[in-house]
């Protein structure tokens, strides 16, 4: 009985679990990356015990890939040495941790997964309870296979109707953030449902689950269904639903009347309709990230770029979220389209999202990004401005060099 979150914890712990309880629960996998991993490894070594299970620890090089300074190379070496010493074999350098967790099959409906990265909420798209933690919490999971949770109450968000042309899950997520504010789901789980979500592909749901943390959510879950089954390539029917759930609150959003939404600097909840900021000049457009770097996102951008040129005053950077996505984009001709249009295509990973490697913004510069964070200083200078939008807006804006409504373009 209960919300998706309560159902997952109840099954896992073999007893009725309700929101508000503090539980110590086993997890399926614990993930860390090249920035949070070294701190987790230091904390784990202080515990002085063996690794819980080398097959259930995932290490990903993605935030700085390949290493761009001696210092970041040093961080990478800490992770490589740890993996060698403790027999960790799930070590990846082929894309963003969250995309790889899903692609590599670590995520299952009904599972519990923890990651040393805030956007670990992403896996909720498949009906897995997943949350982001700091390095010390992850270190304790490395040692014990468990962590503690205060089982969260849930906000149910029903996205009603069908998405109109040119409107995407990113717009729905930004609309919800606009309604609830940047801490609207702090300490809470979010369930994403309604007809618009039921119609969405798993790729699209990953965007919603990803952005859940950006309004404070501990986890962002979708009910597993036939889309989930098809995505995982499994015949299994996932019997995981909310059963007589009691929600903290219920939010209804009409998808059919939605305009493209833009998160304006310097906060994720400073959201406006595109028309309010159309024409704003841009120095950089970034297409990628764990929010919107998947093949469906690249397909949207390639559709707009085909036979066109990006504005010469705007550097346009495309970063596929994973090697698998990159290779699919190659096979479909998207990469050639991006390059012919004048975009820079970088290796799979986090790209310019976090201002630590390529595509850094200088003082006074302005970027539009398909990522999920626009805090001052996020992508480089604290005097730079970041706008967040869906991939179609990013494509149309890259072509024009100013923030542009894609719905006027074919």
């Amino acid at each position: 009985m209960g919300t998706l979150t309560e159902e997952i914890f109840t099954r896992r712990l073999g007893r009725e679990v309700h929101a508000g309880e503090i539980v110590v629960a086993p997890v399926d996998y614990a993930m860390a990356h090249d920035v949070t991993g070294p701190l987790a490894i230091e904390a784990f070594r202080k515990l002085g015990v063996p690794l819980w299970d080398p097959q259930r620890v995932i290490m990903v090089f993605d935030h700085i890939l390949p290493a761009n300074t001696v210092a970041s190379a040093g961080l990478h070496k800490v992770v490589r040495d740890f993996a060698d010493e403790f027999g960790v074999t799930h070590v990846f350098q082929e894309g963003i941790c969250h995309q790889l967790m899903v692609e590599k099959g670590f995520i299952r409906p009904g599972g519990i997964v923890v990651g040393a990265d805030s956007h670990s909420t992403t896996y909720g798209a498949l009906g897995c309870f997943s949350a982001g933690f700091g390095s010390t919490d992850i270190a304790v999971t490395f040692a014990t296979g468990k962590t503690w949770f205060r089982v969260p109450e849930t906000i149910r968000i029903n996205l009603r109707g069908a998405l109109p042309p040119g409107i995407f899950p990113k717009d729905l997520a930004l609309k919800v953030i606009r309604m609830l504010g940047a801490e609207g789901a702090n300490y809470l789980a979010v369930e994403w449902g309604g007809e618009a979500v039921e119609a969405m592909s798993v790729d699209e749901r990953l965007t919603l689950a990803n952005l859940t943390v950006d309004f404070g959510g501990k986890a962002g879950l979708c009910e597993p269904d036939e889309h989930t089954r098809a995505y995982l390539g499994e015949a299994e029917v996932y019997d995981l639903h909310p059963i007589a759930p009691v929600y903290r609150s219920l939010i209804e959003v009409d998808a059919q009347t939605l305009e493209p939404q833009i998160a304006c600097p310097p906060a994720i909840d400073n959201v406006q309709d595109l028309s309010a900021v159309a024409g704003t000049e841009l120095d950089e457009v970034f297409v990628g990230s764990c929010a919107n770097g998947r093949i469906e996102d690249l397909a949207i951008v390639a559709g707009y770029f085909k036979g066109r040129q990006v504005s010469p005053r705007t550097r346009t950077i495309v970063v596929p979220a994973s090697k698998q996505i990159y290779m699919e984009a190659l096979a479909r001709g998207y990469i050639q389209t991006f390059m012919e249009a004048g975009a820079l295509v970088m290796n799979a990973g986090c790209g310019p999202c976090l201002g630590r490697q390529h595509g850094v913004l200088g003082p006074g510069e302005r970027a539009l990004s398909t990522s999920n964070r626009n805090y001052a200083g996020r992508m480089g200078s604290a005097q730079a401005e970041i706008y967040l939008a869906n991939p179609a807006v990013a494509a149309a804006s890259a072509l024009a060099g100013v923030i542009t409504d894609p719905r006027g373009l074919n």
Binding site: V24, A71, A143, Y375, G377, A382
Partner: protein, 165 residues
């Protein structure tokens, strides 16, 4: 006398320690870069035992534990805020940086005011004005008593948390 540094709402982990400065696990180096872009004079003027007063959603954004590490290493005794982002709050408690939620204090104090805090009771005295912070939950209290999460788990294991749950 400890002084308070007052910050606004939605102080992100990117403001506390920007991405290009957290390419290290060395606490002292992180402390020197604390608020380096958002408030460049901070690391040079903060004294051991000073206190940060924050607005709403303090520590929002990335899960980087470098953020509370940088604040602690800079010399800050505790962070008092109207509200905290979940992961930052948990990270701070885990590494032994006291974090106290208190709404009433924010509008009543100015940057630079003298402050003293009783970490255990949550009592805060700003130039004679008294405020009561919220007391931590049972798990946070257990971690604070042990020092850090690592200390707690190393000495008592999960039983320490299971018995307060």
């Amino acid at each position: 006398m400890a002084r308070l540094f007052k910050f606004g709402d939605a102080i992100s982990t990117d403001a506390i320690i920007p991405g290009c400065y957290n390419v290290t696990t060395d606490a002292a180096a992180l402390g020197k870069a604390c608020f380096i872009e958002a408030r460049p004079d901070f690391a040079g003027t903060v004294q051991q035992g000073d206190v940060i007063i924050g607005g709403r959603n303090f520590g929002c954004g990335s899960s980087r534990e470098h953020a509370p590490m940088a604040i602690k290493a800079a010399g800050i005794q505790a962070v008092v805020a109207r509200s905290f982002a979940r992961i930052f709050y948990r990270n701070a408690i885990n590494i032994g940086l006291p974090v106290i939620q208190c709404d009433a204090i924010y509008d009543a104090v100015e940057d630079g005011d003298p402050i003293s805090i009783d970490i255990h009771s949550g009592g805060i005295d700003v130039d004679g004005k008294m405020f009561q912070g919220e007391t931590p939950g049972p798990v946070a209290a257990a971690i604070m008593e042990a020092g850090t999460l690592i200390d707690l788990i190393k000495t008592r294991g999960w039983a320490a948390i299971e018995e307060v749950s």
